[in-house]
Symmetry: C2
Subunit: 130 residues, 2 copies
DNA sequence: AATAGTAGTAACCCCAAAGTAACCTATATG
DNA sequence: CATATAGGTTACTTTGGGGTTACTACTATT
């Protein structure tokens, strides 16, 4: 009986990739960090709808997978800064292509609104009060 | 008070993309179809671990999102062929990049084994018996 | 002594997605 | 008359990702 093999050499790596970034929050977090370092509180603020707990687990997983770097400063109150690692940075152009794909293929969707929805005040905490 | 806006114009389209392909099975199915048309039974066979029910829902969703085309022939027993649409084809190069990213960034993972694991006999049904 | 501020944990719950198994349709075949 | 075949559907159960709320540590400020 002749044996043929499926020609999907990339499927498994793809599955791995999806395990790493293919969920509700991680692509957003990676994109937020594409502009530079962000503290936990900012990430929480700029990711509407996410909870502290979930943000923590997502960041931990991204760190475990080597996509982001976590810097902890021994201060009080604590300060933790997150930034993209080399792996994370290498992913950015591909994510941009995926975005362009969606924009081109689904022109009927009002992505412009989403864009506006992510416009959140960068100044928080004490700066907010005045 | 000065207002700054987050520069993540692509995050939303990215979320949309992840809603479409960022789950357990869909990237695999897209890659299986990258070689051409496949019938339901073949897809079931070439996607180890998936159930009929889940395969059906995944295919329906891919069809609803316009990534694949479903052709039904009025025969008995029935025959249904699935293939990639233009949208799906346009996605392929990006998926390949994602795969390459994973291969380059995680050289320690034995993706070769996954490749072998997907080598399933293409001949099924009656052809199997001899 | 109470409060604010950051970055979390711990305990608990919920629901949609996924999994399982049986059943269905129409024909042809033994 | 029973069985096989392809491509499903239906009903039911399970799982785990995500969500909510409360709590913590440590210090400076009021």
């Amino acid at each position: 009986m002749s044996r043929k093999y499926i020609e999907n050499p990339n499927a498994c790596t793809l599955v791995h990739t999806m395990n790493i970034i293919g969920n509700k929050w991680k692509p957003i977090l990676i994109y937020l960090l594409s502009n530079g370092k962000l503290r936990f509180g900012k990430l929480l603020l700029f990711t509407p709808g996410i909870s502290k707990k979930v943000l923590t687990t997502q960041l931990r997983e991204l760190e475990d997978d080597g996509l982001i770097i976590r810097e902890k400063f021994n201060e009080t109150p604590p300060r933790v800064e997150y930034s993209l690692s080399e792996k994370g940075l290498a992913l950015l152009p591909i994510l941009r292509e995926l975005s362009r794909w969606a924009e081109n293929m689904y022109p009927e969707i009002a992505f412009e609104e989403c864009r506006i929805a992510s416009g959140i005040d960068l100044k928080v905490g004490k700066f907010n009060k005045e």
